[in-house]
């Protein structure tokens, strides 16, 4: 491969930049997204570990790191309340928008969707490349905001006005970063939908597509239609901050003892409606790809068809549709009145049904299965009860009366972390271990993988389970110093437990990183293109897949999960003979 050659057509040698940096190959773009996202996940995790130190040992200098932080953030190594707020806002923003979604959708989705439908690339390869680089710029903006004099945004990942409008910090950069991230998502979602519908290979009917593809398609519709209102809201908040408008500033607002000299007439609750209009579908964007990955891993490692394949599809589609109708359950405490509360409470109860169906069908798949306890399967199996806990703890939050007590407490933090952390993140770990052999052609170290799993599983429960009890005991979110309130100090034992489990969890991730980095270059090479004996089309390619995925187009003869129906034990989709 010549590094001076800059031709980009056909099988000509492409320069390094054209092949690995500005590539239009969905596989390269997928890896770019995945690596960038994982770096952001590490950064977001690192931030919260500092915060957990402050909670466990209030007003004590953060070991080692405290010495390196600027005085405005760590006074003599002790985290300042301002920095606490920064971490609160940026941890959430980074994990959701720069970590999980880019990894699950940009990374896994980009790499696998075209291959699993039998296509040579996405429908719009150049648009795909553009969407990565727009995401990258958004990430750079978010990261760069840490170096602003006033620091980055510190107004919650939710950026509620009036605070977010009057705040003298990097909120403007947060908004600009979000505009880029949202644009990237929109471009990507158009690509995914067109590819999934139009570029399916011969014989790949809709009801022969893997559940991973279905999950990505529903996710793409959510991104396409739910993000624009937040983009609009972001523009409005930018107008308020930069041009002094009053979209979200009510009349007569007093800040720091002085009346604001703005026109007023705005409505802070408008921001909340527009924000949550996206942010609720966003949580289904967070979970759906994980459902898809877990389904693939369970099918492969149970050696039987997924129970209720069609039911799962209808449930995911219904879930996606309903996700637009529940958003104000995040706003029960804004004085909505009983009519509105009742409506959103009802829709929220309804939306729990497809989630339960999805979990149940995956669980029923295990019945009578010949389970292979591979590392991906351990994560996929753990996903099921972890997501169940996350989902069940969402129910009292969705009931307006119970939410009065639980809103803005640690119960909420416990709930949403269960679905995203031992939920989605475990699903993503399963995906990394499962598809690693196909992407790299090498195997990961099994012992390290199992150690990573067990330590993470135990530690992560140690971090988040206590939070349900703390929440029910009235411990509020976003408290800088637990010792200030007696009822909070009372559960300090649990706070310390959470914190130390989070440190152990952090340490365990080094096992993961060491494993995948070492194995990517020095791991044992796979002996076959299909080491897991799986049925879906990505296992029919060479390893790693060539530029065009399928030099000769494949034809599909059956559904995606025909396991255990023949003596061979599995029937790949593309083989005429079962």
């Amino acid at each position: 491969m010549s590094s001076h050659d800059s031709h980009a057509q056909g099988h000509h040698e492409m320069g390094f930049i054209r092949k690995w940096v500005f590539s239009t190959d969905h596989k390269v773009i997928g890896i770019q997204y995945a690596v960038t996202a994982m770096l952001f996940l590490l950064f977001g995790f690192f931030l919260i570990l500092m915060l957990r130190w402050q909670l466990a040992h209030p007003n004590t200098a953060i070991p080692i790191i405290g010495g390196f932080l600027p005085e405005s953030w760590a006074n003599g190594g002790v985290m300042t309340p301002d920095f606490y707020n920064v971490i609160g806002a940026m941890h959430g923003t980074i994990m959701v928008f720069l970590g999980v979604v880019p990894l699950s959708v940009g990374g896994f989705g980009n790499y696998l969707l075209p291959i699993q439908v039998g296509a040579q690339d996405m429908a719009f390869p150049k648009l795909n490349m553009a969407s990565y680089w727009v995401f990258f710029i958004g990430g750079v903006i978010m990261f760069a905001s840490f170096f602003l004099p006033g620091g980055p945004a510190a107004n919650g990942w939710t950026s509620y006005p009036p605070l977010s409008v009057v705040a003298q910090n990097g909120q403007t950069m947060w908004l600009l970063g979000m505009v880029f991230l949202i644009t990237s998502s929109l471009l990507g979602s158009v690509n995914f939908i067109v590819t999934g519908v139009q570029l399916r290979t011969k014989g790949m009917s809709f009801f022969r597509m893997p559940l991973f593809v279905w999950a990505q398609l529903v996710t793409s519709f959510l991104l396409l239609l739910a993000f624009p209102p937040l983009e609009a809201a972001g523009v409005l908040q930018l107008m308020d901050r930069v041009f002094g408008s009053s979209f979200f500033l009510p009349s007569g607002l007093i800040v720091s003892g002085e009346k604001l000299t703005v026109s007023g007439g705005g409505n802070p609750i408008l921001w909340q409606h527009l924000f949550w209009f996206l942010a609720h579908p966003e949580v289904y964007v967070l979970i759906l790809p994980a459902f898809g990955i877990v389904a693939e891993v369970i099918a492969t490692n149970t050696r039987k068809p997924i129970y209720g394949y069609q039911t799962l599809i209808y449930s995911m589609v219904f879930l996606g549709f309903m996700s637009f109708f529940v958003w104000a359950h995040h706003m029960f405490m804004t004085g909505m009145g009983t009519n509105l509360s009742n409506f959103f409470q009802a829709t929220t109860m309804i939306i729990s049904v497809p989630s339960v169906i999805i979990l149940t069908t995956l669980l029923l798949t295990l019945w009578g299965a010949s389970i292979r306890y591979t590392v991906p399967m351990l994560f996929a199996l753990a996903f099921l009860p972890m997501f169940a806990i996350g989902g069940l703890t969402g129910l009292p939050l969705g009931l307006a009366a119970a939410d009065i007590h639980l809103h803005d407490t640690y119960y909420v933090i416990g709930h949403f972390h269960y679905v995203v952390a031992p939920g989605t993140l475990f699903g993503l770990f399963a995906g990394v271990y499962h598809w690693f052999p196909k992407v790299t052609g090498r195997k990961t170290n099994v012992a390290l993988g199992k150690l990573h799993f067990w330590i993470s599983f135990l530690a992560i429960n140690g971090v988040f389970f206590p939070m349900f009890f703390q929440g029910m005991a009235g411990v509020s979110r976003r408290l800088y110093d637990p010792m200030v309130y007696a009822h909070v100090a009372h559960s300090q034992g649990l706070t310390v437990l959470s914190s130390y489990c989070s440190f152990i969890l952090g340490a365990a991730q080094f096992l993961f990183l060491a494993n995948i980095i070492y194995s990517a270059f020095k791991g044992k090479k796979v002996e076959s293109d299909n080491p897991w004996e799986s049925t879906t089309l990505e296992w029919a390619t060479a390893t790693p897949p060539p530029h065009e995925n399928f030099p000769t187009p494949l034809e599909v003869f059956r559904g995606p999960y025909e396991y255990g129906l023949t003596p061979k034990g599995y029937s790949p989709q593309h083989l005429q003979e079962a």
């Binding site: 057509q9 056909g10 099988h11 040579q120 690339d121 429908a123 719009f124 390869p125 929109l186 979602s189 158009v190 690509n191 939908i193 067109v194 519908v197 139009q198 570029l199 396409l224 239609l225 739910a226 993000f227 624009p228 209102p229 983009e231 609009a232 809201a233 523009v235 409005l236 107008m239 041009f243 002094g244 408008s245 009053s246 979209f247 703005v262 026109s263 007439g265 705005g266 409505n267 408008l270 527009l274 209009f277 530029h547 065009e548």
Partner: protein, 197 residues
């Protein structure tokens, strides 16, 4: 060599090309974008004690000219596409040029409108009326600029594709037209919302 199907021929099941499907998906997201802003307009207007009558604050005759300019540009761009369907590349360029000219007229008038407002001390910070007026017409204007860039490209360097793949090029012009009609559609609602009510 990567081969992407259904670039110039429609998919047998859906009956659309990738680009046609893609542009409609994009327009769907734009409906949600402007929908959120129209929602905001309704909220601000109903929540205001003294929302001005459009004609007292804004220049109705100029905006009417703009409306006619944009509607005409919608006709010229669809005629540009029709010319390609009738294999008349020359006519295509003429109609595209007219579309660009009318778009420029729109932007120039908008420029005069805005500067007139600023000279009289009307800014987004002045009131929620001006805040939403500038935001929505400004965002609309940015969409016009984006469309003009695409249209200019298709009229100019992009038209080289006509020789190599006339169907794909015609499809591209159709998609650019769809986007342009959408921008016109938004204005059809913006115009009365701000200027006539």
């Amino acid at each position: 060599m990567i081969v992407i199907p259904y670039v110039d021929k429609p998919h047998p099941l859906t009956g659309v090309t990738n680009a046609k499907f893609g542009i409609w998906l994009f327009l769907a997201s734009e409906v949600m974008l402007f929908g959120a802003l129209f929602s905001t307009l309704i909220i601000l207007r109903t929540g205001s004690a003294n929302w001005p009558l459009g004609s007292t604050e804004l220049n109705v005759p100029l905006a009417t000219i703009n409306t006619i300019a944009l509607i005409t540009s919608s006709v010229t761009i669809v005629l540009a596409w029709a010319s390609l369907k009738m294999q008349q590349i020359g006519r295509f360029r003429v109609y595209m040029a007219l579309t660009l000219l009318l778009s420029a007229v729109f932007l120039v008038i908008k420029y005069f409108e805005y500067t007139h407002k600023f000279e009289h001390g009307h800014f987004p910070s002045t009131s929620t009326f001006f805040a939403i007026y500038f935001t929505m017409t400004g965002l609309h204007g940015i969409h016009i600029i984006g469309g003009m860039i695409v249209n200019a490209y298709l009229m100019g360097p992009g038209s080289a594709m006509w020789k190599k793949n006339p169907e794909q090029f015609t499809g591209r012009v159709e998609c650019a037209g769809l986007y342009w009609h959408f921008v016109d559609l938004v204005w059809i609602f913006l115009f009365p919302s701000f200027y006539l009510l």
